[in-house]
């Protein structure tokens, strides 16, 4: 059965239950209002939608296939595992769905200077690509620690014409890159568009980025109905900020028989500082303009995080996930560094597909889940990105 009703999880604009909101310095309230207004206008404008769809098809490579991982399925001997192949998109990850949408919006708003943060560098690369294609200038903030571990993406951003600003403050990772991008935006609000890379930050970002990523779930739902003739038993996706997961979850929200699993980075364990799993190991708080779950100490200082995957290494999470967890609609679990590496190896060798370390977290959990289900069931895993960017890290951990 097709569901045409817009899933509504928002209690009032910008809030998902009590989560979300706009906890930002006063200077950002006006640009956030202008952004919301522009987004509301263009997201309903048929010519904007057509233009974006055109870019997604011929530039980014949509639709992406839903691929039956037959060898992996056979090895595990449970539910059929399908992979939603966002790794095949231009740039190698789902990030381009969002950057094309926002870059087009920025151009409509007359803003030509784009700033963005990046963790793994995937959002930075996708921003640089969209900006080059649309004739916009891109400046990317990246923690110096992340620049070290994702060198390849730093080169890619530079080749694509973007300027990369190393961030030396705080823990020198994604959270600090967001801090620095927000500080830039406060300073240059008049001519600058902040292109946030996940469903985090103040309203309207969590809603807008989700809407740009919803295409993943819309396609996947249609595809699974075509191939299986019924809905899957579960949908599994990794959760950093939460954009690829919310993007694939959303079309299944009202299919209550479909279990939704968000996989957070378990790192080296669930003790403070060892993981990046705010929904599993954090507490409610306010970070980067949103009320959500945050990894923090007793007195509210944000903790440093740890994950083998730079794209999941973030102490907060999109507010809609906080809502879905408390509403009981989605479950959030963790997968450790070691398990993710193991899944990377399995998928590479059994299927000939190297997943991003982020996506390997989802693969790992799906493997456990598949085993517990029957052979008539199916699972969709969002393969959010490809693993080329991670080979250096993987080479260190997996002996050749």
């Amino acid at each position: 059965m097709k569901n045409h009703v817009e899933p509504r999880t928002r209690s009032k604009p910008g809030k998902f239950g009590k989560y979300g909101g706009q906890y930002v310095p006063e200077t950002l309230m006006e640009p956030l209002r202008a952004l919301e207004e522009a987004y509301n206008k263009f997201s309903h404008d048929p010519s904007f939608k057509k233009e974006l769809a055109g870019w997604l098809d011929s530039f980014a490579g949509r639709p992406t296939p839903l691929y039956l991982a037959a060898n992996l399925t056979r090895r595990i001997g449970g539910a059929r595992i399908y992979l939603k192949r966002e790794d095949l998109l231009h740039g190698g990850a789902h990030k381009i769905n969002n950057t094309l949408g926002q870059a087009l919006l920025a151009r409509k708003m007359g803003k030509r200077r784009i700033i963005a943060e990046t963790g793994a560098g995937q959002h930075g690369v996708a921003t640089a690509m969209a900006c080059a294609a649309l004739g916009l200038s891109a400046e990317i903030y990246m923690g110096s620690e992340d620049m070290d571990r994702q060198k390849l993406n730093v080169y890619r951003m530079k080749m694509l014409g973007a300027k990369v600003h190393p961030v030396e403050s705080g823990s020198k990772t994604l959270k600090d890159a967001i801090n620095e991008a927000l500080r830039d935006w406060v300073t240059n609000v008049q001519d600058t568009y902040y292109l946030l890379g996940s469903v985090v930050g103040p309203h309207p970002y969590p809603t807008m980025v989700r809407d740009f990523q919803r295409v993943i779930g819309k396609e996947a739902r249609k595809q699974i109905l075509q191939t299986e003739g019924k809905l899957p038993k579960a949908v599994v996706a990794c959760v950093g900020g939460g954009s690829n997961s919310i993007g694939i979850f959303h079309s299944f929200l009202h299919d209550l028989d479909v279990d939704l699993y968000g996989v957070e980075a378990g790192g080296e364990g669930l003790l403070p500082g060892q993981n990046a799993a705010p929904l599993v190991a954090g507490r409610e708080g306010v970070l980067h303009g949103m009320m959500t779950y945050v990894l923090q100490d007793q007195v509210g200082q944000v903790q440093t995080t740890r994950s083998i995957s730079a794209g999941l290494d973030y102490p907060g999470v999109g507010p809609e996930h906080a809502f879905l967890m408390n509403a009981g609609r989605a479950k959030y679990v963790t997968v450790s560094d070691e398990e993710a590496l193991d899944a990377f190896k399995n998928l590479s060798q059994l299927e000939g597909i190297m997943p991003a370390l982020e996506s390997a977290h989802a693969i790992s959990y799906a493997m456990k889940l598949a085993k517990s289900l029957g052979t008539k069931d199916s699972i969709i895993v969002n393969l959010s990105g490809r693993g080329d960017k991670d080979v250096e890290i993987i080479a260190k951990h997996i002996p050749q």
């Binding site: 906890y23 406060v186 007195v299």
Partner: protein, 277 residues
């Protein structure tokens, strides 16, 4: 410890007193616990001795998005010495028990949430805090906090920015207590050589909307006596100086006594610039 009645509306009373003397208020900011509790107490005392009208103390936070490098660094120094919100409030209590100047606390929202809104405000009140600024809590999100602050007799001081619309500004002015904190530029905190071109314009437009109902103090980038003088002469009731003072703290970390001397001296000069004519 100051009694409740003594504490009531001390900020308002201070502005009234200064107004009758033809002066603007000098609001002096330091980050709590920077570089360590002892030096912080000495430095704060120096601010008061030098003539600060209101003392504003920042509660250090790991992710201060409204702050530039100077206050970021001071927050990290304080945190590395183990500063906690409760500890900072304890230090303010020591200061307020020895001085009649009003105290304002600046804290990002998360440390307040972590302690619990009511508990935080109760502790702040017991420590002699008269007003509070939460830079990441705009009016839209602050109903609960504002009501609790009212209950605890702590002035909730809102911020206004150069791009705040007239409509919002009316709401903000209506809800602010103590004074309105006018952000005088587009940007984060930090010392600047010259006053922002937006500053004086913003002061006069906010001043005319406020219609004398609430004092206006301008901050961000106000570093020198000539900045203070220009801000006050353009009609502001107060000038807030932060990073310029924190800079002094950071320059004399090895010689805390010198820091206090330089701070006292700097405040005296800044205070002298608050005369309206």
């Amino acid at each position: 410890m100051p009694s409740t009645s003594h504490n009531e509306d001390r900020i308002e009373a201070k502005f009234r007193e200064l107004h009758s003397r033809g002066e603007g208020a000098l609001v002096a900011y330091l980050t709590g616990g920077d570089p360590d509790p002892k030096a912080f107490l000495a430095n704060s005392t120096a601010l008061i001795e030098g003539g600060a009208d209101i003392v504003e103390i920042g509660i250090p936070f790991s992710d201060p998005i409204a702050d530039g490098p100077v206050i970021q660094a001071s927050s990290m120094r304080a945190l590395s010495q183990g500063a906690t919100p409760k500890g900072i409030l304890g230090l303010i209590r020591e200061l307020s028990s020895q001085s009649p100047v009003p105290f304002v606390v600046l804290s990002y929202y998360n440390p307040i949430l972590a302690m619990g809104l009511d508990r935080f405000l109760t502790k702040a009140r017991e420590s002699g805090v008269d007003g509070i600024v939460v830079p990441d809590l705009p009016v839209e999100e602050s109903d609960e906090f504002r009501n609790l602050a009212l209950k605890h007799n702590i002035d909730n001081i809102y911020l206004a920015a150069p791009n705040t619309s007239k409509l919002r500004l009316r709401t903000i002015l209506e809800r602010s207590k103590g004074f309105l904190y006018l952000v005088s530029l587009y940007g984060v905190t930090g010392p600047r050589d010259t006053l922002s071109p937006h500053a004086l314009e913003a002061v006069s437009s906010v001043k005319s909307l406020a219609k004398g109902k609430i004092p206006i103090s301008a901050g961000f980038g106000i570093s020198r006596p000539e900045h203070v003088s220009a801000i006050i002469k353009s009609g502001a009731d107060g000038a807030i100086v932060g990073s310029a003072l924190v800079n002094i703290v950071s320059q004399y970390i090895e010689n805390p006594d010198e820091a206090a001397d330089y701070l006292r001296d700097a405040i005296t000069k800044l205070k002298a610039a608050t005369k309206k004519s």
